[in-house]
Amino acid sequence: MKKGLAVGCLLALLMAPSVMAQGGPRLGAGAYFGLSFPILQDDQKSGTDFGLKARFGLGSIVVLEPYLSFVKWGGPDPVDVVVMDIDGSKVTSFGLEASLGNFPGQMGVAPYFVAGVGSYKVKNEATGYESSKLGFSAGLGLGIGLSPMFSLDFRGKAIVSPQEEGGSKKAIGATGGINFTFGAR
């Protein structure tokens, strides 16, 4: 499944030239940064979320976004006076998200819905915990097209990352970033 996801992302990247050849500024790239808030995880605190993505506009409203994301949660607060004094887990993920709206090159304010599937690797160096499995995300965003070439992108999404032994790790990500549209004038 993970291989299929990687192939899907690769195909999306290979599609880029043909998509661009169809005319119009439909290919872009973006970077984002923000916060990630673990949900119901006593052993983690909020941390940072950084990522890169490519953007392919399909039709008139669907945008496919292969992405690579790096989340670093914070170390836990004391539990029952135990000061754990360890770093939080790192979550590395790659996958494909699809957004409805916020088309590359779109001007003005564009609210949108986004959902995706990705491979999520959760690792904690201190405890030795490690799990890698397919996960899901869904959320809402707001694109602000400043020019045909640049837009701001604010996004909030819920992430569910099932774990190898069962259960899942969940988080809410709140990020802001900038998108660049290739070929736009």
Binding site: D42, Q44, I61, V82, A138, Q163
Partner: protein, 182 residues
């Protein structure tokens, strides 16, 4: 187009709601159990019944515990003898309720080694923090099988000490991190 956006937005909100609702039915919980013990440093052992099942988080999720994410320990250990002594911890499953359990005469053969080779110098005290203990803990797969039963016995053993000088452990804690689905 606006109607399509509205419909997609509603679908999006519903999907997001479902994801968030799923979030509320599972989580990762840290459970801490305290203990304090005193035993001799010349080869004795200490026994302490640990019952995770009485913890509210464990009670809420005991049918749906998926994994032991981490096991840590915290304690202060004092060697009152005149020679260095080495400390070890072993866990063994137990089916006897903690409140009615009586001290065993020997460590069960199926006990798994949690920590070993912790040397405490003569007449000195050593503090082991949670973070430090993570690097000392042994075969986590075997330990998982014991800890996830929820009821196990903690055995502290010592070797190399002299006489009946006590090995004193204070501020002892077993710290268990579990994942549960609902």
């Amino acid at each position: 187009m606006k109607k399509l956006y509205a419909k997609l937005g509603v679908i999006g909100l519903v999907l997001t709601g479902l994801v968030v609702a799923g979030c509320l039915t599972s989580g990762t919980f840290v459970i801490v159990k305290d203990f304090s013990v005193t035993f001799t440093a010349d080869g004795g052992f200490y026994w302490c019944p640990i019952d995770m099942t009485t913890d509210p988080d464990w009670e809420d999720h005991q049918q749906d515990i998926d994994d032991l994410d981490a096991l840590g320990l915290e304690f202060t250990i004092q060697n009152t003898s005149d020679v260095a002594s080495t400390f070890a911890i072993r866990f063994a499953t137990s089916t006897v309720p903690a409140e009615t359990a009586t001290p065993p005469t020997e460590i069960p053969s199926g006990a798994v080694t949690v920590l070993s080779g912790l040397t405490v110098a003569a007449n000195s005290t050593r503090n082991v923090s949670y973070a430090e203990s993570l690097g000392m803990i042994g075969d986590i797969a075997a330990i998982k099988a014991v800890v996830l039963t929820g009821r196990f016995d903690y055995f502290g053993t010592s070797s190399g000490g002299s006489g009946d000088d006590p090995f004193i452990i204070t501020k002892g804690k077993v710290i268990v991190t579990i994942s549960a689905s609902s």
